[in-house]
């Protein structure tokens, strides 16, 4: 015991997140420089923003009380249209995603199919639904059909990617066992792969329905129909109390959907 230290360090410091000190200070310094340049070039019209504050106050006051009366039934129609649009877009998107997802899984598909399907996924994932909706409106005319097309394409990118990743992560031994029984390709998919990926996919499809409903509120702004179109009209007519009611209804429905999807996911797993 004689060589035990007689004095103990009285201070202790938390270990930093980034261990390499050069890298840590480099990151901090780099971010500070970026922040300075970014804020410097932002070109904000502060006077206009300052003028906006009393305007904003009046504007927010105009939101209250929200007007739920909906005398011309436009809000109800818009919500229903959004719901139908979201349902069909989800179903159609998933129906197309299944073959694309199977093709985009590297352990199932041959190389050229894999690359082709990955290209579809990447293509439909890059552009936000709103840009897709702009083009869909140009091609299919105003209305929910254009919104449906935009949302369905967005769904493909999301769902096929996650399905492919799930298939790539599945346990290979089960797939091998089914193959050893002499199952055909379809039997193999049906009995070896589908049961492994199904629980997660059900959860994801409810989640995607939730996303599609939320997105349907914005594709309407560019002409894709649904509650977004109603909301945009309300803003254009300065009917802010109706707009507030629409926003609250959207929040309410999303809350309910989120609760249902959470419950369903727990139930499936």
């Amino acid at each position: 015991m004689s060589d035990a230290p007689t004095t103990f360090p009285s201070h202790w410091k938390k270990p930093p997140l980034v261990k390499n000190s050069t890298l840590r200070w480099g990151l901090i310094l780099g971010f500070a420089i970026y922040l300075a340049i970014g804020l410097g070039t932002m070109d904000v019209d502060w006077e206009r923003a300052w003028d906006g504050i009393p305007k904003g106050k009046r504007f927010i006051l105009a939101f209250f009380p929200p007007d739920f009366s909906d005398s011309r039934n436009v809000v109800l129609d818009g919500i229903l249209e959004s719901v139908w649009m979201a349902i069909i877009a989800t179903v159609a998107g998933i129906a197309i995603s299944v073959p694309v997802g199977l093709g985009a899984a590297s352990n199932l598909a041959p190389k050229w199919v894999y690359l082709f399907c990955r290209a579809i996924v990447a293509g439909s994932r890059t552009f936000p639904e709103v840009i897709l909706a702009i083009f869909a409106v140009k091609l299919f005319g105003f209305g929910p059909f254009a919104g449906f097309i935009a949302l369905a394409i967005g769904t493909i990118g999301f769902f096929a990617k996650l399905l492919a990743e799930d298939i790539e992560n599945m346990s290979a031994s089960q797939a091998e066992a089914i193959k050893a029984t002499g199952a055909s390709w379809f039997q193999w998919i049906n009995y070896a792969i589908q049961p492994q990926v199904m629980p997660r996919m059900i959860g994801l499809s409810v989640y995607r329905l939730d996303i599609n409903f939320r997105e349907s509120a914005v594709v309407g702004i560019v002409g894709g129909g649904g509650i977004g179109a109603t909301l945009n009209t309300a803003f254009d007519r300065y009917e802010f109390d109706t707009a507030a009611a629409i926003l609250l209804i959207i929040i309410g429905i999303v809350m309910v959907l989120e609760y249902i999807s959470g419950y369903l996911r727990k139930w499936v797993q």
Partner: protein, 270 residues
């Protein structure tokens, strides 16, 4: 997994007859809902436009090539603005999301009423799209980058706070208890017991959201909130299709680069 005895011996089926029937009824209900929705949705569709779509697509497609490369000189500033909107918006969101997340996590919330308020903030921020936030903010603050940045910030609070508070709820409690056993106060417990555990999650969520925000900020210009969407809107409205394809190309490249950066950074943290 029932075996059914028949005259030719046992036959294996995946499900019992009853279960199979229930699944078929489920499918029937699902298909009915979809068909009904389809009928309602297509009521107002003008099929002439839909039939015309392939021709229109060809038409626009041929007008879009080749992309007008010389237009790039006018795109540097808007794309810089777009990146700024996404980055600064994410920073704002993270600053607000931290207290909200601590208030929303079951193990750190001071009171269940505070938790309810925090959850409401998270849900309302998540359910209103950034484009709608931008629409409102442009009316208040005037068109420009500031409205876009705040819109992205407001939209991201919910996302960041939700993932963060789930991270806080999943921490290892023995570490917090160990810190508490040394006689640390509650803020000290948080700082030394909880924060080090959630810091990697925090950084990961920030980078992940930044990547999403780059994608979202490209469209904010459609309602006047700055960035490359402003140019996109202008080009579409003036039917300058070669400029549109150039802008789409730039957006594509930016998104791919940001996705790559985000994947690299998250790989380094986790």
């Amino acid at each position: 997994m029932p075996l059914i005895e028949t005259s030719d011996g046992p036959v294996w089926k995946r499900r019992t007859t009853k279960k199979q029937l229930a699944i078929w009824v489920g499918w029937l209900i699902g298909i009915t809902i979809v068909l009904y929705a389809w009928i309602l949705m297509t009521e107002e569709t003008v099929w002439f436009f839909v039939q015309d779509a392939p021709r229109q697509a060809m038409d626009i497609g041929t007008r879009m090539v080749p992309p007008k490369l010389s237009y790039m000189s006018r795109l540097w500033l808007p794309i810089w603005d777009t990146i700024n909107i996404a980055t600064l918006g994410t920073v704002i969101a993270l600053f607000i999301a931290i207290p909200v997340a601590f208030a929303a996590a079951r193990n750190t919330t001071p009171h269940f009423l505070v938790r309810a308020v925090a959850i409401f903030i998270i849900v309302s921020s998540r359910s209103v799209n950034s484009l709608i936030w931008a629409l409102i903010l442009v009316l208040i603050l005037g068109p420009g980058v500031l409205a876009g940045t705040i819109a992205i910030g407001l939209r991201s609070i919910g996302f960041c706070a939700k993932l963060l508070y789930e991270g806080i709820e999943e921490i290892d409690h023995t570490q917090v208890e160990a810190i508490a056993a040394t006689g640390a106060s509650r803020p000290q417990q948080m700082l030394y017991g909880i924060v080090p555990q959630v810091l990697p999650t925090f950084a990961g969520v920030g980078v992940f959201r930044w990547d999403i925000n780059i994608r979202e900020s490209t469209i904010l210009g459609l309602v006047g909130a700055g960035g490359i969407g402003l140019e996109l809107n202008g080009s579409i409205n003036t039917l300058a299709w070669t400029q549109v394809s150039m802008i789409l190309l730039v957006i594509l490249l930016t998104v791919i680069i940001s996705e790559w950066v985000s994947a690299k950074v998250r790989g380094a943290i986790i």
